[in-house]
């Protein structure tokens, strides 16, 4: 548990566990997540999220990457309060929203929205696009809906149709329009383009980028595709087995990864260039990601880590500042 | 495994107890007076009171219930004085109607119902699975469509109607079968089966139709599974693909339903037994309900619940054998 008290979200430089990069005065973070935890099941529970800490500033995109099952979606769901955390705090715009009841939570529900991976599964097949976008509380009238549809690249002619009449990319646009209806300040995007074709993926990425600029949105962008994340994010957090193992500015993480896992992850991503692929150094990690039900003792990456030494098997490395700037790494031998 | 079995058996006992209590409660709130029934039309009010006392109906309901449940395991004496009745283990009480022990009534009738259920089940399983399988493999053809139309007709025909038609054609017109007259299997399997064939067919035609549709749907779904494509990609014979890889998975949902259906029927097929005049548990139930014969109704209800919960347990065990994912869970 970090010392950050919910009443005083990490805003001031120095106390902020995740301080601003250019040391200049930066506004307080929009979202501060502190030591967030989620354990499923009572006896020998699955520690899906095991003490996650990060900030998201207004108007920026924080990428959350990691392999399947490392706890990305669970983290996202706890932030929008689709799930109750079993520990830690979520502070939004200076207010601890972790334990708010449904009534007090309502204004925050408008501020924090979510976009999902499967565009169809998240749209009610029996509602028209207009109903879906205007939401259960009918936030918007028809004109507002049409305006919003145009914002996301659809048109008035789509308002009366049903989800099944759309392609995957269009359905995702509807999902985005719905998320925008309440004029949120933060959108948690859980793998918003993973289910889409490459050419459509680019369209949605562009749309999200345009919306961010126009509406001053902040994104928590959850994805397993590191190439996409490099394109959309300002900062990146890498998760492994329920923990953040490295967090920092995009360029720092991608150009000089400091955690052995980040390095392996990046080197594993195939690059669409055969000549690069031919000469590229590639770290092929042995084994599979371990299960969060039985994490290895010490550094949870140690069974797959080429650099692991004795201390790694006994002591879990804390997330600590690494080098200049805001980068933090959880490794005894970060380099 | 043993622990699992014990836990499941305990659950079965719990369910039976609850069903017993509910049945008791239902009879308690019903306006009929079993004592008056049992005593007869000419009874004076005093006599009825006497009978009521002897039947224990004047006691509070929880006492009656407690007595009933303990009686099953220890036996008990009903009433007192010269009219006291010794009721031995397992005691399910005496019928109000004919003063016979309910247990004896049940055990007398059970072989009939079991014969009926098992024979019909064999018939409908064979017929339903075969028709469903053929329809699934010939999906979309004229054969599939006509088979499905036939099953729809067969499933929607009332049992009375099917029974009458079969009687008319097979017994009266063609004279291929005798009019059903139950013979226990101890009198020879031929006589037993010959007399039961008609009820079997009646009951099976209803269930076979449902099972055919179920098998078809399940088989179509299974044959679209990626692992079936893998089996074909391995170069297996289509026969192997269908039976070893397809049918085995397709049958799992059917096992569940079969367990429930069989469990229910073992405790009597009320309409079929009634139509053919078979002296089974169903017939007993039918009469008991009409005469508000509480001990008998209670007995058959418990019997039915027993069979159904037992069948459920059986289904789960069979499941664990066919689906390894269940076994490890």
């Amino acid at each position: 548990m970090t010392g950050a008290s919910p009443a005083r979200p990490a805003g001031e430089p120095g106390t902020a566990p995740d301080a601003a990069p250019d040391a200049g005065p930066r506004p307080a973070p929009l979202l501060s997540v502190r030591d967030l935890r989620m354990t499923f099941g009572k006896r020998n529970g699955v520690r899906a999220v095991d003490g996650v800490t990060f900030d998201v500033w207004p108007g920026e995109t924080l990428g959350l990457v990691g392999e399947s099952g490392c706890g990305k979606s669970t983290t996202g769901r706890m932030i929008v309060r689709l799930m109750e955390p079993t520990g830690g705090t979520v502070v939004f715009a200076g207010r601890d929203i972790t334990r708010l009841g449904p009534r007090d939570m309502r204004p925050f529900r408008r501020d924090i929205q979510m976009i999902f991976q499967d565009p169809f599964a998240s749209l009610n097949p029996r509602q028209t696009v207009e109903r879906i976008v205007s939401g259960p509380t009918r936030l918007l009238d028809r004109r507002g809906v049409i305006e919003l549809l145009e914002t996301v690249g659809l048109g008035a002619e789509h308002a009366d149709r049903y989800p099944h009449e759309f392609s995957g990319g269009q359905a995702q646009r509807i999902g985005i329009a719905r998320a925008l209806a309440s004029r949120p300040r933060l959108i948690v995007c859980d793998e918003p383009v993973s289910a889409l074709d490459v050419s459509i993926q680019a369209q949605i990425v562009n749309l999200l980028a345009d919306l961010q600029r126009e509406l001053d949105l902040a994104y928590l962008f959850i994805a397993h595709d590191l190439s996409v994340v490099r394109h959309v994010c300002d900062r990146v957090a890498v998760m492994y087995l329920g923990r953040v193992v490295e967090i920092g500015s995009r360029d720092a993480v991608y150009n000089a990864p400091a955690h052995p896992y980040t390095r392996a992850l990046l080197s594993a991503v195939p690059v669409p260039d055969p000549e690069v692929e031919l000469v590229r150094e590639r770290i092929v990690l042995p084994g599979d990601p371990p299960s969060p039900a039985a994490p290895p003792p010490g550094c949870s990456f140690n069974p797959r880590c080429a650099m692991a030494r004795d201390v790694c098997r006994t002591e879990a490395p804390p997330l600590m500042a690494h080098g200049p700037g805001e980068r933090k790494v959880a490794c005894h031998f970060a380099g | 495994m043993t622990r699992y079995l014990l836990r499941r058996l305990a659950a079965v006992a719990g369910v039976l107890l609850v069903i017993c209590a509910v049945t008791f409660a239902v009879f308690y709130v019903l306006p009929s007076d079993p004592a008056a029934h049992a005593c007869g039309k000419t009874c004076t009010p005093e006599q009825v009171t006497l009978v009521r006392a002897q039947m224990g109906l004047d006691r509070p309901v929880y006492e009656q219930f407690g007595g009933y449940v303990t009686g099953i395991f220890t036996g008990r004496v009903l009433g007192d004085g010269p009219t006291a009745l010794e009721c031995s283990v397992p005691c399910f009480g005496y019928s109000y109607q004919n003063a016979l022990p309910v247990w004896d009534l049940l055990t007398d009738r059970l072989p009939v119902s079991v014969s009926l259920a098992l024979g019909a089940a064999a018939l409908w399983l064979a017929g339903g699975l075969a028709v469903g399988l053929v329809a699934a493999l010939r999906r979309g053809t004229a054969l599939d469509r006509s088979l499905m139309a036939a099953t729809l007709a067969s499933a929607s025909a009332p049992v009375y109607f099917t029974a009458m038609m079969l009687l008319l054609i097979l017994v009266q017109r063609l004279e291929w079968l005798p009019y059903p007259d139950y013979r226990p299997i101890s009198e020879g399997p031929a006589a037993w089966a010959g007399n039961l064939l008609l009820p079997w067919m009646t009951l099976a035609s209803l269930y076979a139709a449902m099972y055919a549709r179920l098998t078809r749907a399940s088989m179509i779904e299974t044959m679209a599974e990626p692992y079936i494509r893998t089996a074909r990609a391995k170069g297996l014979y289509e026969r192997t693909v269908v039976t070893k890889h397809g049918l085995r998975s397709a049958l799992t949902p059917i096992v569940t339903i079969f367990g429930m259906d069989l469990g229910g029927l073992l405790a009597g097929a009320v309409i079929t037994e009634h139509v053919f005049g078979l002296p089974g548990v169903g017939q007993l139930t039918y009469d008991a309900i009409f005469k508000a014969d509480q001990p008998v109704v209670l007995g058959v209800t418990l019997l039915a619940a027993f069979f159904i919960t037992l069948a459920n347990l059986g289904v789960d065990l069979v499941y664990a054998v066919i689906d390894p994912r269940v076994r490890y869970a």
Binding site: E67, S68, S167, Q170, D197, V198, S199, I200, Q201, A202, Q203, V205, N206, A209, Q212, H224, D225, L226, S227, V228, R230, H231, V232, D234, Y254, A264, L265, L266, S267, A268, V269, P270, V271, P272, D273, P274, E275, V276, E277, R280, R282, V284, L285, D288, P289 | P226, Y227, R229, T230, A233, K234, G235, L236, Y237, E238, S249, I322, D323, P324, R325
Partner: protein
């Protein structure tokens, strides 16, 4: 040549899913097939396996000198699993949940090689060891749900390779896997290919995977081949607007070593030597997060656009509309280099086109593309 496909067509009652594709594949080589979902990649591979039941397959598939289109079902069955093997995208649902992995691997071996149960069982253990499953003897007795995603795909590979096939078709074998596991599986396939000299048809939508494993690439769009070339050519000098768009729209990592460009889209277009606003859309200053998207969406099988199937999304057509694009399906033509003066990036000026048609015999690795306006680009640089 182990596999020779010509003018392959697969028609479902609802429409034609594959409309005339062709390629050659040698032993020891890998053909990458890329395209968006619904472009006909899986349908083509199932046609080669002879696994279509409701579709009409026409054209020609010659496997090791033997014509497979129209061959008796029993012959196709003998080849399947024995000489042509296939692995699939989702390794969990592709394995039967009720049988142990050992049983499932042994099943095909036993059938095709007519060996005893015991021998087949030994073979299964041996294959599991070969694909890198620890404790193969014990794991052979376990059911698929006890394996992780990567291990299941290893099991699928063990199963596919147990009979020593000559051709392995891998239909998106790593799409469902994590990158670190994908790297393991690609490495495994590569090693096995090298050891045994088998031909591999690697189907994927990931251009990075193609760049890593393929010798030659076939790009599919709407059931047709739009471009077919050696892997370097596809990435260095894509000639079809769709290929160019695909490359430009794919986000990428810093190219580690090779001069990294801050705007990768611009980088790849430069590499492609394509000055036209191919990937359409929105040129202009590069903003964080912007990619060069191809507008619109892939065609529907039921009502494909007339003429060139790509024309509703094609920037080249939009820039210089040509009636042929709307009325006539472009044929796959060979780009023949008449004089090679400089290195790859500079040769475009010296290219000319020669019509060979979809049926034409591609002698050696050539660069073919299906676009009416392919030549208009040639000298524009």
């Amino acid at each position: 040549m182990i596999l020779r496909v010509r003018d392959l067509r697969v028609a479902f009652p609802a429409g034609t899913a594959v409309d005339g594709i062709g390629f050659d594949l040698d032993r020891g080589r890998t053909l990458g097939v890329v395209g968006e979902s619904g472009s006909g990649k899986s349908v083509s591979s199932l046609a080669i396996m002879g696994l279509h039941r409701e579709a009409a397959v026409s054209g020609s598939i010659v496997f090791d000198g033997e014509e497979l289109v129209g061959a008796p079902a029993s012959r196709l069955r003998e080849l399947r699993g024995r000489r042509i093997a296939m692995i699939f995208q989702d390794p969990l649902s592709s394995l039967h949940p009720f049988y142990t992995v050992g049983e499932q691997i042994a099943e095909a071996y036993r059938l095709h090689l007519r060996v005893s149960r015991r021998v087949a069982r030994e073979r299964a253990v041996e294959m599991l060891a070969e694909v890198g499953i620890p404790e193969p003897r014990r794991r052979a007795g376990e059911h698929p749900h006890r394996f992780s995603g990567g291990m299941r795909q290893r099991v699928m590979i063990a199963m596919a390779l147990s009979c020593e096939p000559d051709l392995l078709i891998a239909d998106e074998p790593t799409t469902a896997l994590d990158v670190t596991v994908q790297a393991q599986i690609l490495e495994l396939i590569r090693r096995i290919q090298r050891d045994r000299g088998i031909a591999v048809m690697m189907i994927t939508h990931d251009l990075g995977v193609v760049a890593r494993v393929a010798d030659e690439v076939l790009v599919m769009y709407g059931g047709r081949t739009v471009e077919h070339a050696p892997v370097r050519e596809i990435f260095r000098a894509p000639r079809h607007p769709y290929t160019q768009g695909l490359l430009a729209s794919a986000p990428r990592l810093p190219a580690g070593g090779a001069g990294d460009s801050p705007d990768p889209a611009a980088g790849s277009v430069a590499a492609g030597g394509s000055p036209d606003p191919v990937a359409g859309g929105v040129a202009g200053p590069v903003v964080k997060g912007r990619l060069r998207a191809i507008p619109g969406s892939p065609p529907s099988l039921l009502a494909p656009p007339p003429g060139c199937r790509f024309h509703p999304r094609c920037a080249r057509y939009a820039a210089a509309p040509d009636d042929a694009c709307v009325t006539e399906a472009p044929e796959l033509r060979e780009l023949r280099e008449l004089c090679v003066l400089g290195e790859v990036g500079e040769v475009h000026a010296g290219r000319a086109l020669r019509l060979v048609g979809a049926e034409g015999p591609p002698a050696g690795p050539v660069h073919r593309t299906a676009c009416h306006l392919a030549e208009t680009r040639g000298g524009s640089r």
